[in-house]
Amino acid sequence: MALEIAVEHRRRDFVVTAQFSAPAPGITVLFGPSGAGKSTVLAAVAGLLRADHARVALNGERLDRLPPHRRRIGMVFQDGRLFPHLNVERNLVYGLRRSPGGQVLPGDMADLLDLRKLMRRRISSLSGGERQRVAIGRALLSQPRLLLMDEPLASLDGPRRLEIMPYLQRLRDTLRMPVLYVTHATDEVYRLADQVVLMEAGQVIAAGPLPELAARVDLALAARDDAAGVLLGYVHRHEPERGLTSVACGGEVYLVPLCDIPTGDSVRLRIPAREVILALDAPRNISVNNIIPAVVSAIRFDEKTHAALVEIDVGGGQLLSRITTDAAERLHLRPGVRVLGMIKSMSVELL
């Protein structure tokens, strides 16, 4: 079950050539600087842009051969695009009325996105965050086979973005459809992506599962200040007396501050590169809770900042460590060297 995308579009001297496959269901994030061609790809997939060439195949069915309004490809736009002459409820059912029906029920959507109190409201009276929630509900109620989200949070300020994020995470876990999600905000990538497609200047630089791409020292995500490794795991055990929760990731157990996620639920850990300490020998009497055996798999030196970005293989995945070039030389780090990755429980973000 997969979504196959191939888009080619030339406009004056800007060329977009994108080809990738995405898991279905699952969230595939198209990440890159503005002007990378991400939105062009989405518009071509939706059929709103007549690309020179666009191939959209979902489980083998060619959606690009249908007129745009028959493709059943839902879209959430950056600016919401709610119909100003209809109230919230009539906006929500606009697509539903034109759909053949399906699994997304209005009641479920109203609960999931917290829309019950808004039904009778006029669009002009909604806040930015409320608008985007309605826009997401409207798109989902049209029973799409594929959902496109074009920077759905970009028009919101900081607090409003944080307000919407939990809804999106909930959707990630409940929706059984493929989602293409365009953004240039890294927190959205780490929280939402199953799969990442990195784009630059109209080209796909790399595509793959988030944990793999996040840790690649040669790619854009790792080059940023907020670079981090991502591990997928599940809640193993709660230890209330110690105030800790243990999370199992590929044979290793990570201790994180006590949380209320049920045992057995899958979680993702985000571990910032600047928080990971590397050692050759096990230290004694140290406050760090997680000391994980690992093997260096790649190093990238940055002459300007005197920093070394080290990718380590921890068995269940890859992590990043940003240390000084001096430290990397003192420890003689190079690919293949065995190290210990030391991570404070307090540094682990549970997403």
Partner: protein
């Protein structure tokens, strides 16, 4: 019935000298002229509106030949009204190709009838209406139409559920403007429908008749006053509608 400076009316005025120009309620004859004018204008706008909506929608899109179609629609605005009237007479008169066909098939005659007067008015105000509607449609955010498209709405569906409601103020402007302009149509109406009291004699035509008569000045003045009142009311309505459009 005929509104000329009738001896009867003149006599009435003569009995009460100095009151001729005083504002009084319209007489029965004048009421009939006003009513007929309103009927002609209403019929003209009612018939022109659907066609104007269609052309406004078409002209709001980009396509080859748009310039030509636009020029054709605007032709009555640029031509002398008498030429438009004569063209109508040539095409829709009893001898004309369209007029003969209408008579043969439906026993309907347009020339020298109220319907003919409405047709002449409709053709004359058509460019104004199309223009207002086109501007209203062009002001509709294309992004909303794209959103409707992803929600499964086809072209006609989008026009009816998104474009038309959002272009509503533009349509309102078209209707009020078309109606007001119809009230004052003269050249095309008199050429195509003639000046028949009770059938095609609208306010401007009645004023013209009054002025033809040597003692019709008072009558013309009264009728002109009604014209001014009607026109002002129409323009105020159009202005209100326009204000809503800009909002």
């Amino acid at each position: 019935m005929r509104i000329t400076a009738s001896p009867h009316h003149e006599a009435a005025c003569a009995l009460r000298p100095g009151r001729a120009h005083q504002v009084t309620l319209p007489t029965a004859e004048e009421r009939e002229v006003i009513l007929l004018t309103l009927r002609v204008a209403g019929l003209a706008v009612g018939c022109a509106l659907p066609v104007a909506l269609l052309l406004g929608w078409i002209l709001a899109a980009r396509f080859p030949g748009r310039f030509l179609l636009n020029a054709l629609v605007h032709l009555p605005l640029a031509l002398p009204p008498v030429v438009t009237g004569w063209l109508l007479l040539t095409l829709c008169g009893v001898e004309g190709p369209i007029g003969a066909w209408l008579w043969k098939t439906f026993q309907v005659r347009l020339a020298f009838t109220l319907q003919g007067a409405a047709l002449a008015c409709g053709v004359m105000v058509f460019p104004l209406m199309v223009r207002a509607i086109r501007l209203g449609i062009e002001a509709v955010d294309g992004g909303l139409l794209a959103a409707a498209r992803t929600l499964g709405a086809g072209p006609l569906d989008r026009f009816l559920t998104i474009t038309l409601p959002l272009a509503g103020p533009g349509v309102l402007v078209a209707v009020t403007l078309g109606f007001t302009a119809s009230l004052g149509e003269f050249g095309a109406v008199i050429t195509f429908a003639a000046n028949i009291p009770g059938q095609t004699q609208t306010l401007p035509l009645a004023i013209y008749s009054a002025l033809q008569s040597p003692e019709g000045d008072a009558q013309a003045a009264r009728l002109s006053l009604y014209s001014v009142v009607l026109a002002l009311a129409g323009l105020l309505l159009a202005e209100q509608a326009g204000r809503r459009l800009r909002r």
